[in-house]
């Protein structure tokens, strides 16, 4: 080896050392930042519940008692209480069952399909079957508009939900995406740069778009917002005091069987705060803005359905059938006074559901216009309120699924 080659190799080794030190330290700092942010500031990256659901799948799959999985979007997460459901079945029909809430926000069927596969794998590992899988079909998550909504979430959610094999398969399909997935999953603790930048984007970009509407708020509305902040803080404090272990109610928790903190968990003071919050949220302008948001993100009025997302939904059913004795599809109650879905959209939805029943040979229970749900049972344009709608829905679902459960 001549001296020039030797010197060249020394410099190369120095370069590698320097790169390892710099990138190693930077990656460690990024992980430390995301970890600490999630621990201290809550679900700022929108990934905690997904991560906690993934971590709970083996627990769910190993449940001794017969089990029911209620799977869906944030409408399920907020609108279904496993414990009210179980209690109704036990007290009224003497059926001992453990149900689980697997509702997740910020979803679309393509993500849900990945989760369904992970649930199936967990059950295959445990060798157990679910007695009843109730899958929510959410029309506005299956629209063309939703297909392209928040692309920055896509990689992050996919990186967390994909299996290592699915990630590695990308190496042959889309090398760039493969590298990004590896980076998010293994180097960035499941948090994508986009999720972090989302905050900055909001600060400098979206804030500019939204600010004028804030500028137009009436005094009444501003008063309502101010009261809301106060009540939210009160409720948070109550929950922290009364339930120190389950205070982060969005994180999947075995104590609540994946559901959120319920009225049954709260002291009378906390209950009052929860009811006050529900009432405050129903301020007309707030509801209108929420509805507008749903129109913009998900085409909730016109419902132009996306065929690829619908196919993903059908595949979700197929995945669940592989490890469930019974599979049913439900549609959550709709707040029609705030979201007046148009007639043509409802016709399209009807046709789609008909297709689903026929092609998947499945029962579809549609609660959208069920008379049990008044507008006062929702806390916003789409979600059932914890003090009313959630309880009613969970008990009603128990009544309606009892026959299926008795079949075993």
């Amino acid at each position: 080896m001549n001296s020039s080659t030797s010197s060249s190799k020394k410099v190369a080794l120095y370069t590698i050392l320097l790169a390892v030190v710099i990138l190693g330290s930077a990656t460690w700092l990024v992980n430390a930042f995301t970890d600490n942010t999630e621990k201290n500031a809550g679900d700022v990256f929108g990934i905690q519940r997904i991560r906690s659901v993934i971590n709970s799948l083996d627990y769910i799959a190993n449940t001794e008692t017969p089990s029911v999985i209620v799977f869906g979007s944030s409408l399920i997460k907020d609108g279904f209480s496993p414990r009210y459901y179980d209690e109704a079945l036990k007290s009224q029909h003497n059926i001992d069952i453990t149900s689980f809430n697997l509702g997740l926000g910020n979803m679309k069927p393509s993500y849900q399909l990945l989760l369904a596969k992970r649930i199936k794998e967990a059950h295959q590992r445990s060798g157990k079957k679910v007695d009843l899988a109730i899958i929510e079909f959410n029309p506005f998550l299956t629209t063309k508009k939703r297909e392209n909504f928040r692309p920055f979430m896509t990689e992050q959610v996919s990186a967390v939900l994909m299996s290592p094999e699915e990630i590695h398969n990308l190496a042959f399909e889309d090398t760039e995406r493969y590298a990004r997935m590896l980076s998010i999953r293994y180097l960035r603790n499941g948090v994508s740069a986009e999720a972090i930048t989302g905050g900055i984007r909001f600060l400098v970009g979206a804030a500019q778009d939204q600010a004028p509407s804030i500028g137009n708020f009436t005094k009444d509305h501003l008063q309502n917002l101010s009261e809301r902040r106060t009540i939210q803080k009160q409720l948070r404090d109550f929950i922290t005091q009364e339930h120190p272990l389950t205070k982060k109610s969005h994180v999947w928790n075995p104590v609540t069987q994946g559901g959120l903190i319920d009225m049954m968990d709260l002291s009378s003071k906390a209950k009052s705060a929860a009811i006050a919050l529900s009432n405050n949220m129903r301020y007309p302008k707030t509801l209108a803005l929420d509805a507008q948001g749903r129109i913009e993100c998900c085409d909730i009025i016109d419902l132009e359905f996306s065929e690829p997302l619908f196919k993903d939904f059908q595949n979700i059913i197929k995945e669940f059938k592989a490890f469930s004795n019974h599979v049913e599809v439900i549609l959550m109650p709709s707040n029609r006074t705030i979201i007046p879905t148009n007639k043509e959209a409802l016709e399209r939805q009807k046709a789609l559901l008909g297709r689903l029943e026929k092609e998947e040979q499945i029962t579809v229970r549609n609660y959208q216009d069920h008379p049990a749900f008044a507008p006062s049972m929702f806390y916003d344009a789409t979600h059932l309120a914890m003090d009313t709608g959630r309880i009613t829905f969970s008990q009603l679902l128990a009544q309606n699924t009892v026959e299926t459960l008795k079949k075993d």
Binding site: S4, T5, S7, S8, K9, V11, A12, Y14, T15, I16, L18, A19, V21, I22, L23, S25, A26, T27, L29, V30, F33, F152, T175, E176, Y178, A179, R180, L182, S183, L187, R188, A193, E194, I196, T197, I200, R201, L203, V204, G205, A206, A207, Q208, D209, A211, P212, I214, G215
Partner: protein, 470 residues
């Protein structure tokens, strides 16, 4: 394959390891550089690799013929082949649809509405850069500034050298060919500085992506936002394009430096310029140098009292080089006008009077006015149409007070201004105090780690660099 993606990181690691430990001979290294560069280019579109090679092959052989003959007419003919081929490739792929559209619009304007349609032409990435670089070789050989090479491999390795292939800097053969023919061993300081430049480039790119949002707010809705947000949008675009493009150049220079190849500075704190002429000496230096040496001087330069005409033509074509749209033509013409005016003022009595009296206040005023002129130019560069550009510029000077500013608009404006200053301060520091910084590990290591952390944390991998479209 973008520099700011994990895939490129993986590619660069493999390249570096093989380059340093496997391909250690000059010729094998050159072949390896070609293979890696073509793989890098294929990451966008492998179909255009033959086009890149065609440009290189023709120029390589044309240069040899130019060198062989003593007949000036023959030399000119061969040079013409190179120019026609390169500009032909550029013209077909970049300007065909622009020309068709322009003819169509002109005919429509004169009442003869016809539909000529457009062709399905994909613009090959980096075409404007590598055709200019390739052409500079034949021109240099023609002028006797460099000799024609006999070894094909280093020449193609130079032309396809991946750090600068798709968005420059545009290198001259005489700058880089000798280095590729005899791959130098980098010094430890080269490596450190390479990392510093890569890190700064990535940080600037990250900042540029953030600035893109307020810029989009303006340019997507030019009629719907307040004056203060319009100012913010214009400033944000000034910051975005600088961060994006100079960031890319820094990364390219840094990568090359780590393997010992020295590429000259492409940006030298351009927003600190105190005149439009000064600006073009600091902005995209490799392009302005190319235009000066191969176009402006070919047109006659300062000679024969045709300086103003030649400046104007050079800048007009420079504008067109940036993109096939009338907004770029107007942008180029605008710079042609302000540079010409600068020359005229300098030659005038007032200019001569003030040139002897330069104090801090005057320098500050000159800087402020230059920055203002440059920002106005960016409106043409970024606007969707010339009409939009004029309405934004009009609104900047005659604000419509009926459109209320959003809350925090002032804060966002201040943040944008601070960010632009920050990027420049970063560049200034690293240019001015390069040796001092590199000597101090306690300073350089934390800076590098902080920069990389910032980039990994909030960099949006995969956001394209603006200059790729040119």
């Amino acid at each position: 394959m973008l520099f700011n993606t994990p895939l490129f990181f993986g590619f660069a690691c493999v390249f570096f390891l093989l380059y340093s430990f496997v391909f250690t001979k000059n010729n094998s290294r050159a072949l390896f550089v070609i293979a890696s560069s073509l793989l890098f280019y294929a990451g966008w579109d492998y179909r255009f690799i033959p086009l890149l090679l065609l440009s290189g092959v023709i120029d390589f052989f044309v240069a040899q013929h130019i060198a062989k003959t003593d007949d000036i007419v023959q030399k000119k003919r061969f040079l013409l082949i190179s120019i026609v081929v390169n500009l032909g490739i550029l013209g077909i792929f970049k300007y065909t649809n622009f020309m068709i559209d322009s003819v169509q619009e002109t005919l429509t304007f004169f009442g003869a509405a016809v539909s000529l349609g457009t062709l399905e032409i994909v613009l090959p990435v980096g075409i404007s850069f590598y055709t200019f670089q390739s052409m500079s070789y034949t021109i240099d050989v023609y002028r006797g500034d460099t000799h024609a090479r006999k070894n094909f491999t280093p020449f193609i390795a130079t032309l396809s050298f991946f750090p600068q292939l798709v968005a420059g800097p545009i290198l001259r053969a005489r700058q880089i060919l000798p280095q590729i023919e005899n791959f130098p061993t980098p010094s430890i300081n080269d490596v450190k500085y390479g990392f510093v430049l890569i890190t700064i480039g990535l940080v600037k790119k990250t900042i540029a992506d953030i600035l893109a949002f307020p810029a989009q707010t303006l340019f997507n809705n030019p009629d719907a936002i307040s004056w203060i947000e319009t100012v913010t949008g214009v400033l944000a675009f000034a910051g975005q394009i600088y961060g994006d493009f100079s960031g890319y150049s820094d990364i390219a220079i840094g990568i090359a430096l780590i393997i010992g190849i020295k590429i000259p500075l492409n940006f030298n704190t351009p927003y600190f310029s105190i005149s439009p002429v000064d600006f073009w000496k600091r902005w995209h230096i490799s392009l302005s140098g190319w235009l000066r040496d191969y176009l402006y001087i070919s047109l006659g330069g300062n000679r024969g009292g045709k300086q103003i005409r030649n400046v104007f033509i050079t800048m007009l074509l420079g504008g067109l080089w940036h993109g096939a749209a009338w907004t770029f033509v107007v942008w180029g013409a605008y710079h042609g006008v302000i540079i010409s005016l600068t020359h005229m003022i300098r030659e005038s009595r007032i200019g001569k009077f003030f040139s002897n009296k330069q104090g801090k206040l005057l320098t500050f005023c000159m800087w402020l006015f230059t920055f203002y002129l440059v920002c106005i130019g960016w409106v043409f560069f970024r606007a969707e149409s010339i009409g939009d550009a004029f309405s934004i510029i009009a609104f900047l000077h005659m604000p419509d007070t009926s459109i209320a500013a959003a809350p925090y608009a002032g804060v966002i404006l201040a943040l944008v201004a601070i960010t632009i200053f920050f990027i420049h301060a970063l560049d200034y520091s690293i240019i001015r105090f390069r040796e001092g910084i590199l000597k101090r590990y306690w300073l350089v290591l934390p800076l590098l780690i902080a920069g990389q952390t910032f980039m990994i944390l909030i960099g949006e991998p995969g956001y394209e660099f603006i200059y790729f479209q040119f």
